[in-house]
């Protein structure tokens, strides 16, 4: 029996697949190359800003500001976080940009609280956050967990 949660997951996966396919992302890319690929795909300019003063961020781990009219945006992450973690937070925001339903100037935030545990999110917001998380995990797979040639050889 298909539950509502299953239907949501199917929708989220389809959206994440579409979003991920928009950029020419390939295994073995560096994080900077991923950002450039997203810039090329969306014809925008992006900056990733590592914020030193995040004392008031609470559970926030990153956020996106995007100005559709200027075709530019900036992703803000916590400078104190480990690179892998802050890149994941930034990848979540790239996920929002690539998600065609949500790329229109809204402010997006990534919370360390899972979308599943955040009752303040509306249904469309909940799905958008899940899509961004899916895309971030897929980017992480490209960056860190793709098989290495040297380890696949002998």
């Amino acid at each position: 029996m298909v539950t509502e949660a299953d239907e949501v997951l199917v929708r989220v996966r389809e959206r994440a697949d579409r979003a991920f396919a928009r950029a020419d992302l390939t295994p073995g890319m560096t994080f900077d190359q991923v950002v450039h690929a997203v810039e090329r795909a969306l014809k925008i300019r992006l900056r990733v800003v590592r914020e030193a003063d995040t004392s008031g961020w609470g559970t926030l781990t990153g956020f996106l500001t995007f100005f559709a009219d200027r075709r530019e945006g900036s992703i803000h992450v916590r400078a104190a976080d480990a690179a892998i973690y802050s890149q994941f937070a930034a990848s979540h925001e790239l996920g929002h940009l690539l998600d065609d339903a949500h790329c229109s100037g809204a402010l997006h935030e990534r919370s360390s609280v899972s979308p599943h545990d955040n009752p303040q999110l509306s249904t469309p917001e909940y799905e958008a956050e899940l899509v961004a998380e899916h895309v971030a995990h897929r980017i992480a797979r490209l960056l860190y967990t793709s098989p290495r040639v040297a380890e696949s050889s002998w």
């Binding site: 295994p27 899972s114 860190y144």
Partner: protein, 308 residues
């Protein structure tokens, strides 16, 4: 006698690779390239006649030394596959390799072999060296074949830059041995055909070439051991992270496939643990932070010059 020992040592090493890596090759299509290189190399060494009498094998092909051509082509293909094993993308498969290169070399070898040496006599281990002393055609084939192998040896040397750091030296020494062996053979054939044969130069090929092959085989075993260590390291880190995540009630990403690779699960769980620490304002203990640092070092390892 030394030559036979060197050939058999290289043969045993390659056969061990074929047997021990068969399971990996069965499960991982990318690993089949290296496995096929070892298999073709083993067959090439078997045609040397140290295990199965040369006359018997060559007799199956008519007893006119055509086995030498087969041996030369197999050697070249094995070395070329060794290059592909180290440089082809992770998504490469045996059939998707650029076979035109060894195909072209093999065709050139075959044409020159039959055109330059229409009369090759009966089966003999040293047929080419003996014939080259009096036949310019045999000399030309010997030089062409050795130049072809030396070219592949040079490419093999270059391909070693993408290998695991602990193995690079073995692969490079192996490639240097193969190239120097080929150059010594070209010199030997030229001296014996046009000048005066030199015993020292004549004796150089076997130790250089076959020690090169042995060094390459050692590199294969070292690479296999390092890869296993890296994989086990990932599994060990995951086993240490799972209880931390459980204690914190942090689940890995719900959309993660059940059959995701260990490193993928490791990354997802690592993010979930750090998320939980921030979300619940319960900082990681120094031991937990050290574990995440170890995981990050494992996930960001760059083991190769060729990223994909």
């Amino acid at each position: 006698m030394v030559t036979v020992i060197l050939i058999d040592a290289a043969l045993v090493g390659l056969l061990l690779v074929v047997v021990l890596r068969a399971r990996v090759a069965w499960h991982q299509p990318r690993a089949r390239i290296a496995w096929l290189a070892a298999l073709v190399g083993s067959v090439a060494l078997l045609t040397q006649g140290t295990v199965i009498p040369l006359e018997m094998l060559d007799g199956l092909l008519g007893g006119t030394n055509i086995l030498k051509l087969v041996q030369n082509v197999l050697t070249m293909v094995a070395l070329w596959l060794g290059i592909q094993a180290g440089t082809a993308p992770v998504t490469a498969r045996i059939r998707s390799l650029r076979w035109w290169f060894p195909g072209f070399l093999a065709a050139v070898f075959a044409v020159v072999f039959f055109v330059a040496m229409p009369e090759r006599g009966t089966s003999s281990f040293h047929f080419l060296e003996d014939l080259a002393a009096t036949s310019t055609g045999a000399w030309a084939y010997g030089v062409l074949h050795m130049a072809g192998i030396a070219l592949v040896g040079l490419l093999l040397f270059r391909s070693a830059r993408g290998s695991l750091p602990g193995t690079r030296l073995f692969f490079r020494v192996g490639a240097v041995g193969i190239v120097l062996g080929c150059l010594s053979e070209i010199l030997d054939l030229t001296l014996s055909r046009f000048f005066v044969s030199d015993a020292l130069v004549s004796a150089l090929f076997d130790p250089l070439f076959y020690l090169g092959v042995v060094s390459f085989v050692v590199g294969i075993f070292v690479a296999s051991r390092i890869t296993t260590k890296i994989r086990r390291r990932g599994e060990e880190l995951l086993a240490r992270l799972e209880p931390v995540a459980r204690d914190r009630g942090a689940d890995s990403f719900p959309g993660l496939p059940a059959d995701a690779a260990a490193d993928t699960r490791l990354h997802a769980l690592r993010v979930a643990v750090e998320d939980d620490a921030i979300a619940t304002s319960t900082p990681l203990t120094p031991a937990q932070r050290a574990l995440l640092d170890d995981i990050d070092a494992h996930l960001t390892r760059r083991t190769t010059g060729a990223p994909s």
